[in-house]
Amino acid sequence: MPSVTAYMILGSLLFALGLVGFLSRRNLIVVFLSTELMFQGVLVNFVAMGSLRGQLNGQIFALHLLVIAAVEAGVALGLVVYLYRRKATLDTESWSGMWG
């Protein structure tokens, strides 16, 4: 049985991977997947923390977040589809109309 620290390192790694993906990839879907990855890293941390303190709070919270993430994924993918229809591209660089 690996220690809680190991789980937390796993969670941090997942978060860091997602962050790097988020900052470096230009495909909208991959960027979105990266955010999901960061999400999962946070969930792992929640569960690990919960087991460290011997409570179920962490796991319940994680289940909640999974549902919310599913819903959010639906909305986000819908937006991606919509954006794709507008410009027929998934490049994040082409959506920079808000520059000051």
């Binding site: 960027v31 660089e93 920079s96 808000m98 520059w99 000051g100």
Partner: protein
């Protein structure tokens, strides 16, 4: 005569021209077009008919029935119990002025039917012209009928506005636009004094109604019952006179009137000769009680009038623009009127106003007829011998010129002579100035006539010279008849008078007397001056008129060589006169240019300092925005990186402690 009766007539006098103006303005451009003059003729005509009826009623009422005060409605109150009302005041002076104003206006409107056309087609702005004329007649009647100083001032400013609009009628000509602006601004100077005078009257008498003010002045107390000081009365009178100096083009402020000739000729005839410029004379005559309370003011009025009369007459000697000669002549004749007022000859001044309206309107309309025929050229060096081409215009203008010159038995003679006589009885120097001016008047008037109508027939190149049509000839003939005969209402037949039959101070004077009570006291009577001196003066002024005419004939028809020699002998005098004493240049140098510099300074102060402060207020947030807008790159990953960066800093802060 009942007041109710008069209200109706007075309202017709006021509303007729106003309705004409509105119809011309509203229906003219789209519907009436070339027929617009009918609306104006009907409007002004109804006012004329009503004026005649008012005159009859006033005559019929006699001394007891007038003045009639009519309060139409209460306008507003400044403090409780002091009301400013729209009120009319009808007396002999009013009714005579109404006759002059509406009568001349009617003829001018009829005349304009043809004058404002080129080759039979209405000029651009034909409808606008008649609308303005209607508005002018309305304003002038309001000025004359007004029963308090507020209405007087209202009409005063309204006629000034109409004058401005009509001088600038050809607004696409820069000279016309400049002349209109000049007239308005110069009048502003006088009107400022006038407004102050009215404020002084209000402060002193707590009322601006003629009846109240004149009553208090006559009893010599102000609103609080304190005795009036002569200083205060002098101040009020002089401030009022300021307005008259501006409106009636007297010495320091006369400069706008010659330039006002840029307007169409009918306008010059109506506004700048017969009616509006006499508003100042009317006002001083109306406020005679106030002026008579201050001998100093009366002296100043007389001196300004006498000086202006002589001064303008000398300038008129050498002008070549026919309308400008007449304009200076108008200034000079208005000077006569003020001279008359200043020497307590109120009825003589009003008599001169009345005769002057006929012959000066006639001369201006005649000059307009010449200008119309010459294709807009009015320089008397460019044409001559027109009497063969334009016999009607020539004949009527000679009648007008004779009347202006003071030819015995014509209208101008009677009225001018009375003023000269009164001036003589008052002060010998003023009388001599009056006589000298009479000589000059005869000379310059006939110089103009001889240069334009005599000699070899010559017209400007490319102009088909022709006599004007009946719409122009007819008003000329009516006015010529007036110039011939109007003077006879001022005399009566009596053995032993002038030429053995004419005695001055006739019907008109006895009619006017009740309306001009203040002047009666100081008015010299024929007896006082002595019969011989009285009629000797009449013969003398008649003789001077004839001498002036003969002199003009000798110099400009018989032997023009003499005129040339004279011009060459006195080149400096001639240059000064031709340059109009360089008064315009002096004003330009000492008043206009400093004022313009001041305006330039203020403009720049506004542009750079005040605007600068305002811009600073708006530029500060804008600059800050410039600084921070770079943060908004608009890139998804950019925002992500910023968030990570911020998070990292927060984390460092948390863990470093």
């Amino acid at each position: 005569m009942t007041a109710v009766d008069l209200i109706g007539l007075a309202l017709v006098v006021l509303l007729g021209p106003l309705a004409g103006c509105l119809v011309c303005g509203a229906l003219g451009p789209g519907f009436l077009k070339g027929r617009t003059h009918w609306a104006a003729i009907l409007g002004v005509g109804s006012a004329f008919v009503a004026s005649v009826l008012v005159f009859q009623r006033v005559r019929g009422a006699g001394e007891a029935g007038v003045p009639v005060e009519i309060e139409l409605y209460r306008w507003f109150s400044a403090v409780p119990d002091i009301w400013f009302s729209i009120g009319l005041w009808v007396d002999q002076l009013t009714s005579l002025m109404l006759l002059v104003v509406t009568g001349v206006a009617l003829l001018v409107v009829i005349y304009s039917r043809e004058y404002m056309r080129e080759d039979g087609r209405p000029v651009r702005g034909y409808e606008r012209f008649f609308a303005y004329l209607g508005l002018f007649v309305f304003s002038m009647c309001a000025l004359v009928l007004g029963g308090n100083f507020l209405l007087l001032y209202l009409g005063w400013e309204a006629v000034g506005l109409c004058s401005y609009l009509l001088i600038g009628f050809y607004y696409d000509r820069p000279s016309a636009a400049a002349a209109a602006k000049k007239a308005f601004l110069v009048n502003r100077v006088g009107d400022f004094g006038f407004a102050l005078g009215i404020l002084m009257i209000y402060l002193t008498f707590e009322s601006v109604d003629f009846a109240t003010v004149f009553g208090l002045v006559e009893s010599g107390v102000d609103a609080g019952g304190h005795a009036l000081t002569s200083g205060r009365m002098t101040l009020i009178a002089l401030l009022l006179f300021c307005g008259a100096v501006g409106k009636s083009a007297q010495f320091p402020l006369y400069v706008w009137l010659p330039d006002a000739m840029e307007g169409p000729s009918p306008v010059s005839a109506l506004i700048h000769a017969a009616t509006m410029v006499t508003a100042g004379v009317y006002m001083v005559a109306r406020c005679g009680v106030i002026f008579a309370a201050s001998p100093v003011a009366m002296t100043i009025v007389a001196c300004v009038g006498a000086f202006t009369a002589l001064f303008a007459a000398t300038i008129a000697l050498v002008q070549f623009d026919m309308k400008r000669v007449l304009a200076y002549s108008t200034v000079s004749q208005l000077g006569y009127m003020f001279l008359g007022l200043g020497v307590y000859a109120g009825s003589a001044a009003v008599f001169h106003l009345y005769t002057h309206a006929f012959f000066k309107a006639l001369l201006f309309l005649g000059a307009g007829s010449v200008m119309h025929a010459m294709g807009g050229v009015i320089d008397i060096r460019k044409f001559s011998g027109l009497r063969r081409i334009m016999p009607w215009t020539y004949a009527t203008m000679v009648v007008g010129a004779l009347a202006l010159a003071g030819m015995p038995l014509l209208s101008g003679f009677w009225s001018k002579d009375e003023i000269i006589h009164a001036a003589f009885a008052h002060n010998r120097l003023l009388g001599v100035v009056g006589l000298l001016t009479a000589l000059l008047t005869a000379f310059y008037t006939f110089r103009m006539i001889f240069l334009a109508f005599h000699g070899v027939t010559k017209t400007p190149e490319g102009v088909h010279a022709h006599e004007s049509g009946w719409w122009i000839r007819w008003p000329l003939c009516v006015l010529a008849a007036g110039a011939l005969l109007a003077g006879f209402v001022g005399v009566y037949l009596h053995g032993g008078g002038f030429l053995g039959i004419f005695e001055p101070e006739g019907v008109l004077h006895r009619f006017l007397e009740p309306a001009l009570p203040a002047f009666a006291a100081g008015e010299p009577h024929a007896e006082a001056a002595g019969h011989l001196a009285r009629f000797g003066l009449m013969y003398l002024s008649g003789l001077l008129a004839i001498v002036g005419i003969v002199l003009a004939y000798v110099l400009y028809v018989d032997s023009p060589m003499i005129a040339n020699i004279l011009a060459r002998t006195f080149p400096r005098t001639r240059a000064v006169l031709q340059g109009k004493f360089f008064v315009d240049e002096a004003y330009e140098q000492w008043i206009v240019r400093p004022a313009r510099s001041l305006g330039y300074v203020c403009y720049n102060l506004d542009l750079y300092f005040i605007d600068g402060v305002v811009w600073l207020v708006s530029d500060l947030p804008r600059g800050l925005g410039y600084l921070f807008r770079v943060v908004q790159q608009g890139r998804l990953q950019g925002y992500g990186a910023s968030m990570v960066f911020g998070l990292a800093i927060l984390t460092l802060i948390v863990f470093w402690r």
